[in-house]
Every structure is written in C-alpha cells, then in structure tokens.
Subunit: 455 residues, 2 copies
C-alpha cells in the first residue's frame, strides 16, 4: 500500500521532476576539458544540495579529480540491506555544436523526448534515483538503507575512482549496488545488463620528420606521417573484421552456447540497428551476430584523426606528424595493460624504421560480468516486471562502466544494471535525448526495487 | 662596364635591400585564408609603390581574386627584347606557429640566413628582381624592355591567373619570361629548372552515418568513418610505392635515357637529402633515384587528416565523418581533370557500399617542361656561370608552378627558371629562411641576365 502511494506521488510530481532535471542539464559539466572544472563542481554541489534536502547525510569526498558526491540515509534497523546507488554527473563534450537542433545545454522537450547533453547519460537516470527516493520519503520511510556515490569523471575513464573506492571502502560498504548507467533495449522491453565491455583508450602519435615539408620538393621520396598512420590503422583489421594486434584474442573468453541463446532473444534486427545508427550498413567480425559483436566481442575503433593541414582551402604540406585516438572495447578476460602491450608489439612489428611512434594511455578499464541469480537480481527482475508488465531480458552491453569491475573487486559487490537509456538516445553524439515515458517507468521500477530488496 | 657599375651598386646597397625585404616580409599576405585579404592587398600595394618609384608604369589589374601587380618600362627601341618577370607576393600559412624559433612575420637574421614566412617563397626573389632593376637604373638605362607580373594567389593554385593571362594577352606580350620561383640545388651550384610537376589537390570526405555514435554501443558492428578513410588511403599505394589509382600512369611520359643521365648529375646523396628533410629515411617508387622520384615521377600525398575527436583527453566516439586533403604531383602529360576521374574511379571500385564519399577540387595545374636550347636560355646560362663561377646544372623540380604552363599555352613563351631558394629553406614549413649570400649572387645573376639578353 505504502509503495503504491510512493508510485502515485511520483506520477503526480512529474512536471516538477522534469523541471529539476532541466535545471541540472543546464550545467555543462564536461569532465574532458579542464576549462569546465567549475561547472563540473557546480553539478556536484547541485546534487549535494538535493540529497541534503532529502534528509541524507551528504558530503563531497576530497579527490584529485572532480569530487565524489557521497550521501547516506540509514535504516534504523542495522540488519536492513544497504543499497549503494552509483551514478556520474559529468557529461561528454557536446561538439560538434552545429549539429544540435537545439543547444546542448538548453534542455528542450520535443514530442516524448527531452533533448540535452547528459539527458540520457546520465543526468536523467540520476534524476530518476532522486525522484524515487523523494517519492518514498514523502509518503513513507525508506524500506532499505541507501548510500549514494555520484562521481564526476566517468566520461574520462574515472582515473581516480578506484583509489577512492579503496580509501573509502568502509564508508561505501553495502549489500547491493544499483547502477543505471546502462541501456534499456526498447521502451517496451525492460533490460538487465549483466555484461559490460571494458575500454583501453590510447593516443597514437607518429612522426616522420622534425617539421612539415613542402610536398612538391620532398613528396614521393620522404615519408608522409599521414600516409603511414593510415597504413598502420588499415592494418589493424584483417578482411574477416578481426583485430590484428598480436595475441589480441588470447584472453577473450568464448561465448558459451547457452549465452548465445540468451543473447539471441534480444529483439534487434539488422535493419532496425542500421536505422538507429543512422548508418548505411553493418560491418564486423565474421561468425558473430550484431548483438554478439556489440556485447560479447572486442573491437578496435578510430575515435579521432589529426594530421597536417585541415583548414579551408589547400596547403601543399608533407606532414611530419600525425595523431590517432584509438580505443579498444574489451571483453572478459582482456586487460587494458595487456592490450597496450599488444598495440606496442603491433607497432614494433609493422611500423617502418623511419617512423617514430608513441602510445599514450588515456583511459582503461577491464570488462565485467555479473551473476544472474543473486537475491538483489531477483528483486530487480520483479521490480521491472511490475513496472513494465514484461519480464526483463538479460543483455550484454557494448559500452564500458569501469566502476562495475572496481566495485566488484574493491567492495566485493556485483552491480544491478537496469538503465533507462535507449539505443537511439544519441549518447556521446549531437542531439542526445531522454525518452520521458521511459524515465517515468524507470522511477516506478526504482521505487519498486527498494521495496523488493527489503523483502 | 656599365654592367659592372650596376653590380657594384647592388653590392653597396645590400643593407638597404635587406631592410626593404624585411619590410615586405612583415606583411602576412596569406592567400589561403580570407581573413588575410587586406594584408594580401597591402603587399600588392607595397610592390606597386616600389615599381612606380623605379619609373615603371605600374598598376593593379582588376581580378576576382587578389590583384596582379602589372608594370612595364619599355626600351625606346621597339626591337629590343621584352622580358616578363613573373613572381607572386602571397605566402603559405605560417601554422603551426609554435614551431617557429622567431615569429613568422618578424623577419630575423641568424647567421647567413633571414628567417620569415615568404623569405624564400618568394618575397626574397621578388626583392632580387627589384634590386637588380634599381641597380641598373641607378647606373645606366635598362638594356631590355621589362614587364612585371606579380600575382597574389600562387599558393592556392592561381585560380584566376589563366583567365587574366587570356584577358591581358596583349599587355603581357613578351619575348622571354624570367620566373625565379624555383630551387637552386646548393649555394655553389647554379640551377636552371627545365621541368616542373603539376598538381591536383582534393578534399576527400567520407560519411558513414548521419551523426557520430557511441563507440561502445555501436562499435564493432557499425562502420567507422576514420577506419574506412585510413583503409582507402592505405590502398592508394602498392608495396612497390606505386600509386594504385586506375590508369594513373597511362599519361606519364617515361624518362628518356639522356635525361636520366642529366638528372644523375644532380649532386644529391640520400644521406644529405634525408638530413635536409630532417627525416629518418626515404621511401618511394621502386626503380627510380630520389632525383627522379622528386622531379620526374608523379606522387600522391596526404596533406591533412581530420576525423572525430581530436582534443585533449578521450572521447569514445564512433566518428560518422572523416576528411583527407590529398594531392597528386603530376608529370607530363598528366592532367588534373583526368586524375580527378582516376581518384573517383578508385573510390567507386574500393569504397564499401555503406560509405558516402565526395571529392572536392581545391587546386590543379598540369606539369611543364621547357626547351634547353633557346637564346634566352643561353643568356641565363652565361649570366649564372659569370655570377657563380660554375656552369649551371639542369634539373626537374618537384614543386608546381602552374603559371609556367599557362604562360606557355596562352602567351606562347617558355619560362627561364633560375631561382635562389635552397632545398633546406623550409618552404611551406616553419622557420622558412633565405640564404643571404645566395640572394646577393642572385641579384648579380639577374643583372647579368638583362645585359646578356640584350646582346
């Protein structure tokens, strides 16, 4: 009965929750660029203030990077389960700005969606946590103890988080973890993600001369940094779509037959997937379905290229330097450190003697998989089924949420991942959006999860 | 005797000529960027004023692009030969600025060299023309009729010059053309360039989706614009260093045995060439010497690459678009229009169906070759031998001077190319310089050329 009251409160307060979310989305908390440091801090303080208003003990944990918003509201009965809510308040850069229909930090509702940088990844989910907590607290007391860990550097690979988890292990101790930084496959299909890819992100720099040269006077006889970078990148895949870094697949766990069957239940058609991506076709590793390629197989991607003259018009320069941002999505049991060695070994084998190269680490996290049979997982299944009217599917997701592995290793707890971000939400891209009906169902599911967990 | 007086005058006025050159070099007349239009105009006016002071009839020819500085000082005897001096007052962009030891538009003498953008290409040579003319006029009258054509858009491929030559064919009629926008192989080795490569410059754009995507959610199954661009570029050369565009070599005139012998006289060692380029090795087409690769064989170069995220840090984007600036250096009888067809044919054959591509023309000019046995060429040989004490070598140069072909086609005159730019002058690169002893020998050679031509 009390749970139903909380759900009704949430329904009746949607307009206000939406306004609150729009306020948070106006803060450009871009962790990638140092000039946004003050804005990132402002987002942390906004959340801190909200949690204090909800009666949580809350504070910012001192960090080398953006601060962690920590909060707790403990149940009087110490035997009540403790759930830790994980989230991040930083967002990806909004560039290229000219591709946004409405400005990235002017949240705008069009149809059933709210458009803004961070709407889906993941200020919307943060707001769903807060709305669920407020709805319960307005009508009841919390049925479980709740702790909050909202970080501000997820989009740059959470470089300081593992140390913070170690340092505050006691403070963050819990029985279950809820992490909604994952996808829901469709508005009608509640989704529990049980596997996440890891990430190894590098900058590869090549240099062929001390400075740029005249392409007429030296072209055809002196190496071209852009050309050699293109050749090195082209060689990183074979015609079967496999990554050619030496030993790249040595640590990759094969997909078991029962898992292939489970993944085959994910209702993606190639046509829908291409349409979602606004692309013209699919590529990938031979012998695997799209769902397997995205969730259960490793990849190597070019994230950026920069070389020579890129301005308006023409400049007949023979470039001396070229740079690529390269990242690999990892699956169990690959490790970022090993992948770096594999990339360096590839370069030792393939780069000509007349090229200097350097590999710079930018971010890294291992892949993660969680069990599907824990009590917290059962509570999540029941909550989702009740809120959506459909039994959830289990999926492996292509993205990386390094905190899942770290929490598992450091706090000893597996994360329940039931996000509200749709595959076509334009995450990390222009015109990021949040599907509002899914947000509201998410709020209900999270309310139900707290109650189910207490049973 | 009068010629000796002019040469003495030039020697006695070097300091002033140098100061004048430094004044001209302070004007950032970058034709590539529209924001420098006013500066480019200022350089034209500076030259106009100098020519008027030398008693020339001078004016700016109205143009769609930067204006041509035209001037003439005709000999009283209409049978006297008319020599047309060609030059350009625009310069390449100076970027990357941080690599300059002293700022590009603050001309600075260090040792025997003057450092500034345009010092060698080609405000130094322009000043050599002016110094030669002034030295003769201060001590004698001009032994030949002299016309001047200084253009302001050479560094962007002279898009309006051919039309201007057609329109002003009568005004520019002449018996010989002097064009010093070419190399001298060493300060001790006067050089006459008789062959120049042409240029075909394109921007290649590829697109694989409507917008950038999340590399975790789509990577491994949706095409990556950076990856496909790298693969397309890598495929443009075969392992023997030959360009793979279909029919690329069909129009290439082979190098004749006597020409190979002449080119073999050019005293470049691989080691010196590598050192000049500040590189670590050489590459190129199998079966040809470095001198042949640079002067007599066509090439394909990457001039720039831009794709995805290139800022500080990491962004896990799957780029939807990528761009390459690509240019081909052409040799007789290749034509830029044909090369564009060949590039498009390559893309039709090689680009996957899921990539949209577009080729944008940025600049183009055919290659050129001139005869070595004309009277004007004989005058140039005598002038250089007297000024340097060494018989000049004949060379084919890798750069493109489209005006040479156009003057040949439209005005019916072959150009005498005896420049004073050394191979290590950092043309089109940071720390461009001019070797001052070579400048002064050039001034003497040009004075002598006018007198030799009158004989």
């Amino acid at each position: 009965m009390t749970m139903e009251k909380a759900i009704a409160f949430a329904q009746n307060n949607r307009d206000r929750f939406l306004r609150d979310l729009q306020e948070l989305l106006q803060i450009p908390s871009v962790s990638t660029f140092s000039e946004y440091t003050a804005e990132t801090q402002r987002a942390a303080e906004w959340l801190l203030y909200r949690l204090l208003k909800l009666g949580f003990e809350a504070r910012l944990l001192p960090m080398d990077g953006p601060q962690i918003v920590y909060a707790a509201r403990m149940h009087p009965d110490p035997k009540t389960p403790v759930v830790l809510l994980y989230g991040h308040y930083d967002v990806q850069p909004a560039e290229p700005l000219e591709e946004w229909v409405t400005p990235p930090y002017s949240p705008t509702v069009r149809g059933e969606n709210l458009y803004a940088r961070g709407a889906s990844d993941m200020k919307g989910p943060l707001m769903a946590y807060l709305a669920a907590l407020e709805s319960i607290l307005a009508t009841d007391s919390l049925p479980v103890s709740v702790k909050v860990l909202f970080e501000g550097e997820e989009e740059v690979g959470s470089p300081h988080l593992a140390d913070a988890l170690k340092k505050h292990r006691q403070l963050l101790s819990c029985d279950a973890v809820l992490n909604c930084d994952t996808l829901i496959l469709s508005p009608e299909l509640p989704t529990i993600v049980y596997g996440l890819r890891g990430l190894a992100y590098f900058e590869l720099r090549v240099e062929t001369a001390e400075h740029d040269l005249h392409s007429g006077l030296f072209g055809g006889a002196i190496p071209n940094a852009g050309q050699v970078l293109a050749e090195l990148i082209a060689g990183m895949h074979d015609p079967q779509g496999r990554v050619t870094l030496p030993h790249f697949y040595d640590d990759v766990l094969p997909i078991e037959p029962d898992e292939r069957a489970e993944l085959a239940r994910v209702p993606w058609t190639e046509k829908d997937f291409i349409a979602q991506a606004t692309a013209l076709g699919v590529i990938g590793e031979e012998g695997y379905t799209i769902v397997e390629r995205i969730g259960a197989r490793p990849t190597l991607e070019v994230n950026g290229l920069l070389c020579g003259f890129t301005g308006e018009g023409s400049k007949t320069v023979l470039p001396a330097r070229a740079m690529a941002k390269l990242s690999m999505r990892l699956v169990p049991d690959q490790k970022p450190e090993r992948v770096k060695e594999q990339l360096e070994e590839y370069l030792r084998q393939r780069a000509p003697a007349w090229v200097k190269w350097d590999v710079i680490d930018l971010a890294g996290s291992p892949a993660g998989i969680v069990r599907r049979d824990t009590p917290a997982m059962q509570a999540a299944i029941r909550a989702l089924e009740a809120a959506f009217g459909v039994r959830p599917v289990f999926a492996r997701e292509g993205g990386s949420v390094p905190v899942v592995s770290w929490i598992q290793d450091i706090l000893g707890r597996e994360s329940i991942m039931m996000g509200i971000s749709l595959p076509d939400d334009n995450l990390h891209a222009p015109n990021e959006k949040l599907h509002l009906p899914t947000l509201w169902r998410g709020v209900e599911a999270y309310i139900r999860f707290f109650y189910e967990l207490a049973k």
